[in-house]
């Protein structure tokens, strides 16, 4: 009798897939997610998804994100920004301790796929869209039947199109030539490299002439568009590399370009700026409320400028001013100072890399067509560096400090005779150049690592840009940096990173032979003397 009841219950369970399973069963299957081995957990995730319960989707998503865990009493909880909810009752609970359930990539993939399939029937449009995108990216055919069912119910045209594309992608390997042809027609203007490789596979074995022709036509159209996308990707990457070079070099364009000081400690000014960003970040983390953390970079800019400008002024007043007109000694002295600064930082902060986080608004990117991604941090840096350059140009052109600076560099005795305090202008100019290097350091901390050696990676490139662009010309620095960045990035896909770099260096050497004063040579008295 008991046995019969059990069988009946099982049959009932199997025959109807309920929209809401009963709580006990659901709770039991959620609990099973905290299994011993990864294969237990994978089985549990699949079992939970098989319920078809709408409540399972957030649980599986949390599992994939590592936000699913258990409290001290073993109850399963979902963590969300420090708050814990019970997945069965949906209520917020307070717990003393929380341990996340460990996941590996395979479990993560299973959970994410299952969550996406469940979310296909969600009432929320955005959730459905995200689910569909995730299914499409996975490229697996497990979800085909689900997608077909969901397609019939779908009302949003954009999502419907996504579903059609996904199904068409699967149809490419169908046995029926008519379906293959229809699939090619549906996919017509896709730029997905994954579809391209499936299309190539199809062409390798296709016998039907009509399908062959359509596939050939689609492939050539796709190759043309992908070529364009590749070109714009190179363009963006070149601009981005150019903007990084430019940022590193602007400060040097002032100290070396305008003042003529061969400052080997320029890279260390960038490094000090990056460490200031780290210090400001730690301050924000320790003292200020957590929702302000995304703005630490904004606060780090003036702080870094102030720190490095002061170090720069001290350097100029303490060392460099005694060495004007003796470039070799200046070079050796500043190189020694750069080593000292590195070691000082190593003593204070330690030799290891410091962790500087990207604020949320600089993390990720816009996924454009054909796998080309515009990453936020690089876009921000391109605009930031143009703003810095513009600001500097305006300062030199329109402010009275800029005027005296230009006067001193063009003709020192005459400027002095006109009553300009040349010593003070020298110190401030050097401070300005160093300060700009400092804010460059803040920006560069967002794409690279913050270590005592940070500056050394940029010093050679900076000199290269300034010399190539033309010593003393801001405009030359801009054009020099961007063209070096572009040349480098257009060479890299063909020559590789190593050879590309060598080719750029050879190119600069040859160029300097032809035009020793760089792209935009200054004309005038200071140059001739």
């Amino acid at each position: 009798m008991k046995m019969l009841k059990l069988v009946l219950a099982l049959l009932a369970l199997l025959s109807v897939v309920p929209a809401y399973a009963d709580d006990d069963d659901f709770a039991l299957r959620v609990k099973a997610l905290n299994g011993e081995s990864y294969s237990d957990k994978i089985a549990a995730a699949e079992a939970l998804a098989a319920l078809g319960d709408g409540r399972a989707a957030p649980v599986l998503e949390a599992l994939a994100d590592g936000r699913l865990g258990y409290g001290p009493d073993g109850s399963i909880l979902i963590e969300d920004n420090g708050a814990y909810t019970d997945p069965v009752s949906g209520q917020v609970v307070q717990v003393a301790a929380f341990d996340a359930i460990t996941v590996n990539n395979r479990l993560r993939g299973v959970a994410r796929g299952a969550a996406a399939r469940l979310a296909l029937f969600s009432p929320d449009v955005e959730a459905r869209r995200a689910a569909m995108e995730s299914i499409m990216a996975s490229g697996s055919d497990d979800a085909a039947d689900m997608v077909r069912t969901a397609q019939a119910k779908e009302t949003d045209p954009a999502i419907k199109a996504l579903m059609a594309a996904t199904l068409a992608n699967l149809d490419l390997t169908s046995n029926d030539p008519a379906r293959r042809l229809a699939a090619i027609n549906t996919l017509g203007d896709s730029n997905d490299p994954q579809i391209r490789s499936r299309l190539q596979d199809l062409l390798a074995s296709e016998t039907d002439p009509a399908v062959r022709q359509a596939a050939d036509k689609m492939l050539s159209g796709m190759d043309f568009r992908l070529g364009l996308i590749g070109f714009s990707a190179n363009l963006f990457q070149g601009l981005s590399l150019g903007s990084v070079l430019l940022l590193a070099a602007i400060g040097l364009a002032v100290t070396f370009g305008v003042m003529g000081v061969i400052n080997m400690a320029h890279g260390e000014m960038i490094m000090l700026g990056a460490y200031t960003a780290y210090a400001v970040q730690q301050f924000f983390r320790a003292v200020l409320p957590p929702d302000l953390i995304d703005f630490y970079l904004v606060a780090a800019l003036p702080a870094a400028f102030a720190v490095t400008a002061l170090v720069g002024i001290a350097l100029e007043r303490g060392v460099i001013r005694f060495l004007y007109g003796r470039p070799l000694e200046t070079m050796l002295a500043t190189w020694g100072i750069s080593l000292m600064l590195q070691q000082v930082v190593r003593q204070i902060f330690g030799a290891t890399n410091m962790e500087v986080a990207n604020p949320a608004w600089m993390t990720g990117g816009w996924e454009l067509a054909g796998g080309f991604t515009l990453t936020y941090n690089r876009v921000v840096i391109i605009f930031f560096c143009l703003a810095v350059l513009g600001g500097l140009a305006a300062l030199l052109r329109y402010s009275s400090f800029g005027l005296s600076m230009r006067a001193v560099t063009q003709n020192r005795p005459m400027a002095s005779a006109m009553g300009i305090p040349t010593g003070r202008v020298d110190a401030l100019t050097f401070g300005l150049g160093s300060g700009i290097a400092g804010i460059a350091g803040v920006a560069l901390s967002q794409i690279g690592n913050v270590s005592p050696n940070l500056g050394q990676g940029y010093i050679v490139d900076s000199f290269m840009v300034v010399v190539f662009g033309g010593v003393g010309s801001l405009w030359g620095t801009l054009v020099g940096a961007l063209s070096l960045g572009l040349v480098n990035k257009f060479l890299e896909p063909y020559a590789g990173a190593m050879l590309g770099k060598i080719l750029v260096l050879v190119f600069i050497i040859l160029f300097i032979q032809k035009r020793p004063r760089g792209l935009f040579a200054l004309k005038g008295r200071s140059v001739e003397s």
Partner: protein, 424 residues
């Protein structure tokens, strides 16, 4: 075998007489520490210097070695390869150290090798490396490729690792990645991976602009077969590489990256939120729960006076090397290099992660292998480990010209790279 034992006993006897003459006047035993404290490698090597100092401190607290105090002589080769050789000479000739713990990069090890061989010194090298070497005067306590690279690739090929069919081998352009990738390429081909499914990429030291390469990896991975990246990218270049990966939206469950040069110490300098699920292969993880490991972590954090400092694999290798040396010295009753070398073979030390490490006659260790996934807190969580310890191959069987070579420093071979025994 019998001769070997007689030889060992003979050496033992002569060696035990030596201290009466040579070191009777000294009441300290000197050990050299040859790690860069400035320059580019200071970032990694400073930690190992501190680890040796901690071990020395520990043994002195326990009454010293052979009734003598152990004294560490620290020199700074400043990430400058020729300077490594000079400093090694200084340690052996002037300071007369009994053993040296040092080097990180393969090029620094190659630079000091002739010095140690000429002066019959003893070097313990604690870093995972490309193999293809076995010197009479060096003991390698880091992983050889078959203890790190090959198991990692095996894991990724397995169902749990994602059934990977397409491979990107990305590395920094120098000897370690080039040799490792050569071994891996031969290994993958022996497993039936086609040449068009392997992409090899090299970048200069400290490469910071990864846009093109990451975009290429993305394109390579979009061919419909499961793709993984095997990274031998070294040092500072890792941070911008991982940042670019995260920003271009490459997730670990789509294209996992397994790294051989990224451990807890490196992760401490990266924002790991977006790297969760990427992998690393080592013989040690800080996260492994074990009484030995707990004690070691506590000892380290107390010694360095920072409760947040992490431990890593080369530190464990230094720990094992130091312990083995002290055991061998007490067993031999002397610090004489020839006697200690004989005593080191078969020496056992408990791994911090469980099991026992054994020193083999090819001067390499038998150790367990762990694959871990990066967690949001910067730790590595074990997802796979070997059932037992794996014996290191000094020469890779996957490179035809190396497969013929044998490294065995006991009778009748007594050789690091021979095709047949020296004594027949």
């Amino acid at each position: 075998m019998k001769f070997n034992r007689i030889l060992g006993a003979g050496l033992f006897a002569t060696a035990s007489l030596l201290p009466m003459f040579a070191q009777a006047a000294d009441d300290t035993i000197k050990v050299g520490v040859l790690h860069s404290l400035s320059g580019t490698m200071a970032i990694s090597e400073t930690t190992l210097k501190d680890t040796v100092l901690m071990m020395v401190d520990d043994i002195n607290k326990k009454g010293g070695l052979l009734g003598k105090k152990v004294e560490a002589v620290v020199v700074d080769p400043a990430s400058n390869w020729p300077l490594f050789a000079e400093k090694a000479q200084e340690l052996l000739e002037k300071e007369k150290v009994a053993a040296v713990f040092g080097c990180w990069t393969s090029v620094s090890r190659k630079s000091v090798l002739p010095v140690f061989e000429k002066m019959n010194g003893l070097l313990f090298y604690p870093v995972q490396y490309e193999g293809e070497e076995s010197s009479r005067n060096v003991f390698y306590t880091g992983a050889a490729p078959n203890q790190q690279a090959i198991p990692a690739v095996d894991y990724l090929m397995s169902k749990d690792g994602g059934d990977v069919k397409r491979w990107v081998l990305a590395g920094t352009d120098y000897v370690y990645p080039r040799t490792t990738n050569k071994i891996l390429e031969a290994y993958l081909k022996s497993k039936g991976v086609k040449a068009e499914d392997i992409m090899i990429n090299y970048t200069p030291f400290g490469h910071s602009d990864w846009q093109t390469i990451v975009a290429d990896i993305k394109k390579f991975g979009a061919a419909g077969k499961k793709t993984a990246v095997v990274s031998t990218i070294n040092g500072d270049a890792n941070v911008p590489f991982y940042k670019e990966l995260a920003n271009q939206g490459i997730k670990a469950d789509q294209i996992p990256v397994v790294a051989f040069s990224v451990g807890e110490e490196e992760l401490a300098g990266i924002d790991t939120k977006n790297l969760v699920g990427h992998l690393a292969a080592w013989n040690y993880f800080q996260s492994v729960k074990n009484p030995e490991n707990d004690a070691f972590i506590k000892q380290w954090q107390t010694f360095i006076k920072n409760p947040k400092r992490v431990t890593n694999d080369p530190m464990e290798a230094t720990y094992i090397g130091f312990k083995m040396w002290t055991q061998a010295v007490s067993q031999a009753g002397t610090t004489n290099v020839d006697a200690v070398r004989q005593a080191l073979y078969g020496q056992k030390v408990k791994n911090l992660t469980g099991g026992v490490a054994v020193m083999n006659t090819n001067h390499h260790l038998s150790k367990p292998v762990f694959i871990g996934e990066i967690q949001a807190n910067g730790q590595l969580q074990t997802v796979w480990k070997t059932k037992d310890v794996i014996k290191a191959d000094a020469w890779s069987p996957y490179i035809p010209e190396s497969a013929k070579l044998t490294a065995d420093w006991t009778y009748p071979w007594v050789c690091g790279n021979c095709t047949e025994p020296k004594f027949k």
